[in-house]
Symmetry: C3
């Protein structure tokens, strides 16, 4: 399994999900399915969820190599459907979800982060809405709750990388800090919430979710109409193939991923 | 009376409401009722409203001691209904409402501030969404128009205090400044607006209110369904009792209120 | 013609619109009509639009002198209807629209900027929501996607000028930079977008537009109900006449326009 599920005995009420998919933490269909399955089957004793990753960075985006190995449209189809399930499970989770991002976060990784209640990152972490370079259009519903509209559009139309610090300055993320403090601070927030009466936290979450009016499931379904069309028309699969062939113009220069 | 209503002769068109409820400006049911009553009965000569407080700070939140003195659910019920009336009266006020916050602003105080058109604070003022520690869930409708969603969720789930300066950095409040300039600057803004043609200001207010689509009344009604449920279930009243008993864990350390 | 339309051969896919209406770039009815006409008749080879201006500043707001020359309500009526057409054409444009603001941007100029996907300005450029001083109420739909609600209300109720840098700090604009870099950077962004596959960019734009839910046409129609009422009642035309007579109190002191 690529998703570790922990309930640490020294932090009662804290449910930890740890992504670990070497070498680069490309987010696989199985990762997304495991997140959804876990959040749809919480224990009444779970008071707060913390999602982080082990390895080089939080998420290298959807696993294009896996998609390339699957037959026909199967790869992109499963990535879409399971990412919608995972993001919906995060945004509708009955208890708060805290995302802890280190070093890099691309594509579907940002969709997961933007679906959550609270999101921390180390200040140098690089974020990149890579969708347009990978032949897809996702992430707007989550992006619009992180950033002013025009700032998001700039990032999504250009696929320019941006640091966590610069994202924070424009309104996104709840906190950015040195990587040495990231783990301790996120655990501190999780414990603070876990110690509140759980019925109060659950009622507050339900109330805020409705008043915010976020509907990740519907928005992703809408976006995926465009993604499926792009794949029927051929542009979607062509963009993924170009990535795998390594021939996309200026790729290394514009990618937020370290060379591997 | 705990709400002073002034129409200063040197500032024609400016209606001043001054909260004064010693020792700490806990916001009483009567305070909320007076705000609503005043704003629902404006004179055609009123062009702009300025709400401030006299004493240690702007608002210590809803008056838990008063709620404790009233029979059964009467205290929480009246606080809820009158805070919804006051916030609705502010947000639907036909003329602009300016809130001037000094030193601290907790719980229902933030709901009042977030319902207004313009909000200034001294840069060191402490804000705290104390709802979750007092057994309630309110303030989301106002909070979502002050802060990005995830930033608000962090503050509401943890009840961490935050300075006016840090709130301003994340998008809330129109202006933060040294306390020595707070009164002069807020009067300056009020006079600027009062000198504009009043029919223009009223039309602009009505137009912006509709286009923003804020519905404080409906959102608070929705939240209060959860508050009433929490009190029927017992958690709401238990949290208030714990506060009054002074036995809530770490209270002094985490409260934005100065020791009294 | 006051709107130059260019398709530079060294930037394939980039459509440039350049406003030029000496001496001050007051935005005429013809300017607005030309923007709408051009964006409603794009070529399939256009991948991205860049709108800028030549001369002292980006826009001095709607041309009050032109409105004064037209008979009866004709001036304000045509300004309103054509500004709604232009803003709608920008916000519904099937390809991204980049606004490049230099030195000043008032009134309807901000409505154009706020309707676009991406907006850059030189850091010292002055913005001013002059509507209330000119007897109108427009710009809220665009303003609410640029700024937090209370910040926008402060600017619209007071008509205070604000620099691009200060707007950026509060969330508006995608980038502010020294004027010497403005042209190069905006062309760089345009070329980056123009090089992406155009079907992907168009699908992404359509998807984001729907998910954001912005409806400039409906919001401006709503606002213009108030503007038309103000002109039937006389306050709207009186404010414009006062401007033309140069007798509005403190005008020079509060205007973002340089003396001409």
């Amino acid at each position: 399994v690529t998703l570790e599920v922990q309930r640490p005995s020294d932090s009662p009420g804290v449910l930890r999900l740890i992504l670990s998919n070497p070498p680069a933490n490309a987010t696989s269909i199985e990762d997304l399915r495991s997140i959804a399955d876990t959040l749809e089957n919480l224990s009444p004793d779970d008071h707060v969820v913390v999602v982080s990753a082990r390895g080089k960075g939080f998420s290298a985006g959807g696993d294009l190599k896996e998609m390339g190995r699957l037959e026909g449209h199967e790869g992109i189809l499963q990535q879409c459907l399971e990412s919608a399930r995972a993001c919906t499970a995060i945004s509708r989770c009955p208890i708060p979800v805290i995302m802890v991002v280190h070093d890099y976060c691309l594509g579907v990784g940002i969709e997961l982060v933007g679906s959550a209640d609270i999101a921390l990152a180390n200040e140098d972490a690089l974020f990149q809405w890579t969708e347009i370079d990978n032949g897809t259009v996702g992430g707007a519903a989550q992006g619009f709750r992180m950033l002013p509209s025009q700032v998001l559009r700039h990032l999504m139309f250009t696929a320019e990388p941006i640091t966590a610090r610069d994202l924070w300055i424009r309104g996104a993320l709840t906190e950015v800090l040195p990587i040495s403090n990231l783990e301790a601070r996120s655990q501190d927030i999780a414990r603070t919430i876990a110690e509140k009466p759980s019925d109060l936290v659950r009622h507050l979450k339900a109330s805020m979710d409705s008043i915010e009016g976020l509907n990740v499931e519907s928005a992703m379904r809408f976006e995926q109409g465009f993604i499926f069309q792009l794949n029927m028309e051929g542009s979607g699969s062509a963009a993924r193939a170009a990535f795998l062939d390594g021939d996309r113009k200026g790729l290394k220069g514009s990618s937020a991923l370290p060379d591997t």
